[in-house]
Symmetry: C2
């Protein structure tokens, strides 16, 4: 692919220094206050707008290298910045400034019978490591979101966006300086050497508290397998729509087509549609017709194939495939329990929807399935921090620890307990 | 130490099977409902009471082996069960039954402008691995607390309590069966072979979601270093009391003596007392006198030594030593900022207290220090799930992820999002 930008000195020493600087910056930032953070975000947005030509010039260098390396068109599209995309990035920084500051928020508080007043209060996590592929805007989004939550960030973008990310980082650091904050609050790994990723995954001797990977299955899989620190991620979004016998046909069609086809490349896109055998007579043909009409290839089990000659045969592998494309797998199942069995067997615990007018069946599905997001009579494409009202997100997590579902500002915080007494000593 | 109880077959295969059974049991338990769980807990308590002689007989075997191996008296004390201690264990099970069920609790809910109703709902985590030393009561406490939170547990107790733990486990499994729940909800590693611990730390191929170690620094250190899954733990409790110039002397003395001396062996016991230089004239001598009078050895810096000839010289190592004994280190510092610097440099982010009548200084200490628990005018010995009103705890965590501070029922849960619509599809 593109060139590796080598460091002059010793990589391990440089990375260790990066970690130490981030840890120091996190201490300062943790107590910096909302105003300083918002001042920095506004100054970052202003710097991005003032330096649009510089950013586009840097992006042109990356694009030339990518074209010379014959990278695919979809890759080059993600890498490409335009004046509109740069403005959207600046707007994103303004939007993060407008979000409420989670740090210091009291999550709950109670008084003990002995009079001790206990509160659970949000704190920053510390240092977030963000490893991403070649969307240069992640530099701004992820760096700024981490910062607003009081955390220092260590960014490692794709080597193909090295110049673009560098130009954006310069604007972020200009914003930090303008607010009197250490520019080391947001740092980037100063090389494209892949060994640096391994060092980040080891946690840089305790300097990194959590890693957030943004990218394809290859990247996320490597991060999940190798990381020695917590990771907020999802490997795949094998999302399901289950059409119960109690569904209204038109609603089922609308939701299934939207869930699959609105945008096929996002993690919340449906990959499998399960149809209740008891309602298949009403729903199956309409679902197939409308999906095919919308441009979707349907792969089905025997029952689905029997309903329509255009349906291709699904293999066992199809049930666990995240197509991210205009392809859907479809199966007929024996009711909600069989649907949930299928989802537990083949799913990725990301997002699943049920369509039904039967409230009891819907509640069973919502209660018994253990996916990060479960929906009733709504499209899986709502699996998104913005749609949840979180304002901005850094990704979606399917793990059970700390962050689950959309990872927004709140999920980038930790908490502590404050206890207020009046000379309390513990008896006994 | 004591004998290793070897498995007949292949350890790796046995451990893998244990993990699979736990995962299956967790699925059943997750949807079992509060009544079944409480029925099981009551039946467990009844079984413990009915089998007190069997439990004491098994304990006698462990005790004989421990005495033959010349283990220390404090170790043998922790290992020893008596009729009272067995009754306390049964009472602990009844207490856990009486706690509210966290599973299914709505943590927050909101409606989006488009009418989608979103809720964040507590769910079990899945499978908890608990690795502990030779207190056999942890078998009952940890197994039952995990179960009430909807999780399956895999227990690995100290090899010296192998027979005692086995007899207690039999009672827990009797309780599970009585409630119609799988007895594999609580399992123990069927060998004392230490290789089994390494397998648990690897996560048993994804079967274990989190490890909770209960024991000394050696055990916790090994778990933290080797675990490939999340760990809820604290390596040390190097807890501080800072006596500000604004403290009332008597309150400072009461809190410092209680924090150090009430029980010296618990993780919330204070290990270092920091005295504000500006108030040292009022407080220092009284603190030293009362600590020594309570039976404590004081090791101090030059200023503390100058105040009282009985004070021994503290070495650099003392500031980062968790004595768990009747020894305290004391230093004079230049105000609250210097106290916080000292705590950040030498502490373990567990629990710190400030004594002062100056509210602004207290708030600064509570807000700026990033320890799991920070107290104002209260003893560090309140760092305890019971004292926090959590009912029961499995330990105290100092990490930033998921659980921090006392690890009770709520901390043994995860969450998911439920979304309720009326045919919602996502535009655009």
């Amino acid at each position: 692919m593109s060139a590796v930008y080598e460091l002059e000195g010793d990589l391990a020493a440089e990375m260790s220094l990066l970690g130490k600087r981030a840890r120091e910056a996190a201490k300062v930032l943790a107590n910096a206050g909302t105003e300083a953070k918002n001042t920095a975000l506004a100054a970052m947005a202003a710097a991005v707008r003032a330096n649009v030509e510089t950013i586009l010039g840097a992006n042109a260098k990356d694009l030339e290298a990518a074209r010379n390396a014959n990278l695919r068109a979809s890759f080059i599209d993600r890498l490409t910045l335009t004046p509109d995309r740069v403005e959207a990035m600046a707007k994103g920084l303004d939007d993060i400034a407008a979000l409420p500051d989670p740090v210091g928020e009291t999550l709950s508080s109670w008084e003990r019978p002995n009079g001790l007043k206990i509160s659970r209060v949000r704190t920053p996590i510390g240092v977030i490591g963000i490893i991403y592929e070649s969307r240069p805007n992640v530099t701004a989004d992820a760096g700024a979101l981490s910062m607003k939550a009081g955390n220092a960030a260590i960014l490692r973008g794709g080597s193909d966006s090295y110049h673009s990310s560098g130009a954006i980082l310069a604007c972020l650091q200009e914003g930090l300086r303008a607010a009197g904050l250490p520019e080391t609050v947001i740092q980037a790994v100063p090389t494209t050497d892949r060994a640096a990723v391994g060092m980040m995954l080891s946690g840089l001797d305790g300097a990194i508290d959590v890693i957030v990977p943004r990218g394809g299955k290859g990247l996320v899989g490597r991060v999940e397998a190798e990381a020695r620190v917590p990771v907020f991620s999802h490997l795949e979004g094998i999302c399901h729509v289950y059409v119960d016998k109690g569904a209204e046909t038109q609603m089922a069609v609308d939701i299934a087509v939207n869930a699959k086809m609105r945008r096929t490349g996002i993690c919340g896109a449906a990959e499998t549609i399960l149809v209740d055998e008891a309602g298949a007579g009403d729903h199956l043909k309409a679902l197939i017709d409308n999906l095919i009409e919308a441009g979707c290839t349907v792969r089905g089990d025997a029952a689905v194939q029997a309903a329509d000659g255009r349906v291709e045969a699904a293999s066992e592998e199809d049930w666990s495939t995240e197509y991210l494309d205009t392809i859907v797998s479809m199966a007929v199942v024996d009711g909600v329990d069989a649907a949930m069995d299928h989802i537990r067997t083949y799913g990725s615990n990301h997002t699943e929807a049920i369509v039904t007018s039967d409230e009891a069946t819907a509640e069973k599905f919502l209660s018994e399935l253990d996916s990060a997001i479960v929906l009733h009579n709504a499209s899986t494409q709502f699996a998104d921090g913005g749609e949840f009202g979180m304002g901005a997100e850094i990704g979606i997590a399917t793990g059970k620890m700390h962050a689950r579902g959309p990872v927004g500002l709140e999920q980038l915080t930790s908490f502590k307990y404050t206890v207020r007494g009046s000379g309390h000593t513990r008896p006994g």
